[in-house]
Symmetry: C2
Subunit: 90 residues, 2 copies
């Protein structure tokens, strides 16, 4: 399901316009990014927790050039779903 379809689902649930739902979704996205970017985590009860984690640098082989390259360390946002979450969807 892509963003457009998800906005429709949200719109039906919240009874708000699609426009508002999309705006909110965008801001939700930006806020999570911003808070995580500051090194804080976002914990939402009964849902999960967004945190920033670092992926270590890694060597990889390019089979065409037969050379090793190094993928630098990067920071990604990880999400951990809570237990209640798991039970809800079971």
């Amino acid at each position: 399901m892509n963003k457009k379809e998800f906005v429709e689902v949200l719109s039906k649930k919240t009874k708000l316009s699609k426009r508002n739902c999309e705006l909110f979704l965008n801001e939700f996205k930006n806020c999570v990014l911003e808070v995580c970017g500051k090194g804080q985590s976002v914990a939402i009860r009964d849902f999960g927790k967004f945190t920033l984690t670092e992926r270590k640098p890694r060597k990889f082989l390019n089979p065409q050039t037969k050379r090793f390259y190094i993928r630098p360390a990067k920071k990604v946002v990880a999400f951990k779903g809570y237990k209640n979450f798991a039970e809800f969807v079971r």
Copy 2:
């Protein structure tokens, strides 16, 4: 950062009331759970993708009773952040 604090951040960004922000956040949560529960994934561009994955059953030892127990398979929602996401927060 807990939900209450996050709602405040959202409220400032969207210029909507805290009440509305919290309502929206709750519905966002429910919608992701619902869509994932149906076996679909939720992909939000420039953010990430929520999918349902199964954790296999696993044996574990209780050191007090010295017995092995089996943790049954469970379904949890996994999130994968996109590349742009990573670049934003770097």
